[in-house]
């Protein structure tokens, strides 16, 4: 009950920021250089033809009227049509956001599986070989640009070894996508009981996910290590050790659970960053993600997809933060009461 109330409160308090996002993206797309009408009328169009396109798109109206029209459509769940794809933006995003989310999630999970244990070990054995290895891996992961690691992985595993399929999107051309339930091909193919498609999806996912994961390794491993170090120096760890608790209990039950708060915060930040910003990975692997969709629209001065993308990202970010806050409450009883 308390939890639901708290969630409701958080969602309500996010409304002002959403309104702000709507206004700012609308204005920002309008002040961007480039003329949409001229772009879509084509390079050979006459000024009258451009004017015609402008009128058709409603861009000749004053800014206020355009904004009212936009908000009205938004209230009906209509994000407008993309001029580049010719599809409604909602439909485009519904197809592309899950692609981005699936890739990011898998990459993040893979990254966590390595970086969290690595960070814990580095903190427990501070100054040891593992600690130095952790620093080295983290530095390398963050300093190699993702398009470079991506290309390298493609070169080695696809071109040289032939282990990975061609880096051409979410699924090989010989397979048809599973019926959409969640939009996550891995889950949908399992739901459909299609193991063959599942395997093919996983194979396509592997390289881009690893590329992303390598990049996410550094922040997670570093924050885990730093957070563990400060917790391990706390008085209650000394108490736990003085009570003869085993090293496992001390490190996992006592230290790591306490060290988790900053780790969870970082995970949230890394996730939201990767979700919208992994355009480079999406380009290298021809991944039909939301980031590259928005960038293409931006280049074409196609307002509706950009606005839709930013809005979707803002909503996702708010939901993610809510999720983190709820997770906080589960980890730390003190947070639960203060809310």
């Amino acid at each position: 009950m308390n939890l639901i109330l708290q969630i409701a409160k958080r969602i309500l308090s996010a409304i002002p920021s959403l309104i702000g996002v709507v206004i700012v993206t609308f204005l920002l797309t309008r002040v961007l250089p480039g003329d949409t009408a001229a772009y879509f009328a084509g390079p050979a169009a006459t000024p009258t033809a451009i004017e015609e396109v402008r009128k058709k798109l409603g861009l000749d109206k004053p800014l206020g009227a355009q904004f009212v029209a936009y908000v009205e459509a938004l209230a009906h769940g209509d994000l407008g049509n993309s001029l580049t794809t010719g599809q409604p933006v909602t439909q485009d995003l519904a197809a592309r956001l899950p692609a981005s989310a699936e890739l990011t999630l898998i990459g993040l999970i893979a990254s966590m599986l390595i970086s969290i244990p690595l960070g814990i070990l580095a903190a427990v054995k501070q100054g040891s070989l593992i600690d130095h290895a952790c620093r080295l891996i983290a530095t390398a992961g963050v300093s190699l640009p993702v398009f470079f690691t991506g290309l390298l992985l493609v070169y080695v595993f696809y071109y040289l070894l032939g282990w990975a399929p061609a880096p051409l999107g979410r699924l090989d051309v010989f397979y048809s996508p599973p019926p959409t339930v969640t939009g996550f091909y891995l889950i949908d193919s399992l739901l459909a009981g299609d193991l063959e498609t599942f395997r093919a999806t996983a194979a396509q996912l592997a390289l881009p996910a690893i590329t992303l994961g390598l990049f996410a390794l550094a922040p997670i491993a570093r924050i885990t290590r730093a957070s563990m170090l400060s917790v391990l120096a706390a008085d209650f760890i000394r108490t736990a050790r003085a009570s003869g608790l085993s090293a496992r209990t001390v490190i996992i039950t006592y230290a790591f659970r306490n060290a988790m708060l900053p780790v969870v915060t970082t995970l949230g930040m890394v996730f939201s960053f990767l979700l919208g910003a992994n355009v480079l990975v999406e380009k290298v692997f021809a991944w039909p993600g939301a980031g590259s969709y928005a960038v293409e629209a931006l280049i074409a001065s196609d307002y509706a997809p950009v606005q839709g993308f930013v809005l979707a990202m803002a909503v996702l970010y708010i939901l993610l933060n809510l999720l983190i806050d709820v997770a906080y409450g589960f980890i730390d009883p003190r947070v639960r009461l203060e809310g």
Binding site: L12, G244, R334
Partner: protein, 562 residues
């Protein structure tokens, strides 16, 4: 006492690896502890008393190691034992209770589960009966409503209650030796007494041996059979508790004893002979006109702090919980040149009161008249710009935390001068800082040092110099010596007394230590739950308290066998 000692430490030397090479924290310590015996290890910070006990538990920091010597516990050689053996010993045979009990407990685990962890680890319980056993132990350490408290988190319990949980953890597996490292530092006197009585009773019941590590000679003498005095890593004296208090042998023990505040002595008596200046103590002047007049001061804290507008809108039961009244209709006066002691246990509202007088906090109602002006009417947020700001200053409790770590001593002292003072120009300010440093007995050469390069006493002097930099009329002292060793405290208290007389200031001295308050203050107010329990001259209150609560406070002070 038996002939076979439970614990023997011989020739123990402990080294810490530092950037400047190894440093010896403890040098050639010998001690023995018999079954059922209570041993006190007394010393000031840096004496190596805690390090010695950590060595017995083999819980030294990464940098520390036993360089020499042997520790033998009921036939087991601790210095040779494997880590796995040590893990079995810790908690089951030797256990420890710590200073700062709240920090010593896992903040996000239910206390009942923490006790269960220890029981299960040492196979003292099964998963089936662990909960019942944990509740039994909570009952033994006198926790009211143990079934309910089993589910509590440390932050929901008081400091005293947390210490009971720490004791429960330590005694859960019926160990033979209990090491108590400053178990009552930071707790109120009445809690301290309850805690020590509980420890003594429980350990006696179980025929356990106890090592009590403390800086308080009085506390050790009250509760221990035998006392060891340590100074700078060496053992300087060892004797029975009664003997050490009657006739201390070593010069250091004498110095410690002298510096311990106790009944029937004055501030000067705290100082060792070599610091007794020939000068006459500055006589106290009769108090002058009323400087500060506080009438009917009230402070309410809203029930939920930080509640946003939205949450208040969503709350249906907003009217249900009442605001917490921290200060409840307090009235008192301070005259010019007078010092008033504000005494009470934690949560009694003494700090809230001092914050309101200091104008860092706005009162809910009531009047604060300072120098004839209604300063209570000036909002705390704007008080920094008021001309009265420089007339009330404060010395804070923690000399380390109250200094900016990136400021040199000079910069810290000069801070109020930069903001509020009339002195301009770096030479003039430097000159003023040197003057202030000399006044508080801080060597001028130390002015360029950073806080981490100064000792606790030196940092306290910097804090005092900063407070008096603008010649305030009233200085609020918030437990200024609580974090200091007794010998340093003795010097700082004398300094404060001398400064007051020389500069004609008044003090509002907030403290929980009745002895210290008696020595420094003419008048005392005893507070409880935001109200005045008793007020009067310091002597009368200590010698002939009227209120039951005051009597209780005085009775709770350690009474060493004299």
């Amino acid at each position: 006492m038996t002939h076979h000692p439970l614990l023997t430490v011989s020739d123990l030397t402990i080294e810490f690896a530092t950037r400047r090479g190894p440093v010896r924290a403890v040098e050639k310590i010998d001690l023995t502890l018999g079954k059922g015996e209570t041993l006190g290890i007394v010393g000031e910070s840096g004496s190596g008393k805690s390090v010695t006990s950590y060595a017995v538990m083999r819980l030294l920091d990464r940098a520390g190691r036993i360089a020499q010597g042997h520790i033998s516990f009921s036939g087991i050689s601790i210095d040779q034992a494997s880590e796995a053996q040590m893990q079995d010993l810790r908690g089951r045979e030797i256990s420890m209770i710590f200073q700062n009990p709240r920090a010593a407990l896992n903040p996000i685990r239910k206390v009942g589960h923490q006790i269960e962890d220890v029981l299960l680890r040492h196979v003292q319980a099964t998963h089936a009966n662990a909960k019942q056993k944990a509740i039994d132990i909570l009952t033994q350490v006198r926790i009211a409503r143990p079934e309910e408290r089993y589910h509590a988190y440390p932050f929901q319990l008081s400091g005293g209650m947390c210490q009971r949980i720490v004791i429960a953890l330590a005694l859960a597996c019926q160990p033979q030796l209990l090491i108590a490292d400053e178990p009552t530092t930071g707790l109120d006197v009445t809690t301290q007494k309850a805690m020590m009585d509980l420890i003594v009773e429980l350990t006696r019941e179980r025929h356990m041996s106890t090592i009590l590590i403390t800086h308080d000679l009085g506390l050790a003498a009250t509760y221990c059979d035998r006392i060891i005095v340590m100074e700078k890593g060496t053992l300087v004296e060892q004797a029975s508790a009664a003997a050490i208090f009657k006739s201390p042998g070593h010069a250091y023990t004498k110095k410690l004893m002298r510096a311990t505040p106790r009944s029937g002595i004055g501030l000067r008596d705290l100082l060792p002979d070599d610091l007794q200046t020939g000068a006459q103590p500055v006589p106290r002047k009769p108090p002058g006109v009323v400087l500060l007049d506080v009438e009917n001061l009230v402070k309410d804290y809203p029930p939920t702090h930080g509640a946003s507008l939205m949450s208040r809108l969503l709350r249906q039961d907003a009217g249900a919980d009442k605001p917490f009244r921290a200060v409840d209709g307090l009235s008192f006066q301070i005259k010019a040149g007078e010092s008033l002691g504000l005494v009470g246990e934690s949560g009694c509202g003494k700090s809230t009161t001092s914050m309101m007088v200091m104008r860092l906090l706005d009162p809910t109602s009531g009047r604060i008249t300072f120098l004839g002006q209604d300063t209570g009417a000036i909002p705390a947020a704007h008080f920094a710009r008021s001309p009265f700001r420089s007339r009330i200053q404060m010395v804070f409790q923690d000399p380390t935390d109250s200094l900016n770590p990136r400021f040199t001593a000079e910069r810290s002292i000069a801070d109020p001068i930069y903001r509020l003072g009339s002195i301009k120009g770096s030479d003039a300010i430097r000159h003023r800082c040197e003057e202030l440093a000399t006044l508080v007995g801080l060597p001028v050469a130390l002015l360029d040092r950073f806080p981490h390069q100064l000792s606790g006493g030196q940092k306290a002097r910097v804090g005092i110099a900063r407070a008096i930099a603008l010649d305030p009329a009233l200085v609020i002292l918030d437990e200024p010596t609580a974090a200091l060793d007794v010998s340093v405290q003795a010097v700082v208290l004398n300094l404060l007394e001398e400064l007051k007389a020389r500069l004609g200031m008044s003090y509002l001295f907030v403290s929980h230590d009745l002895h210290v308050v008696r020595m420094l203050c003419e008048r005392v107010i005893v507070m409880r739950a935001g109200r005045i329990v008793e007020q009067g001259s310091a002597e009368t209150i200590i010698e002939a308290p009227q209120a039951d609560y005051t009597r209780e406070l005085i009775a709770a002070l350690p009474h060493p066998p004299v």
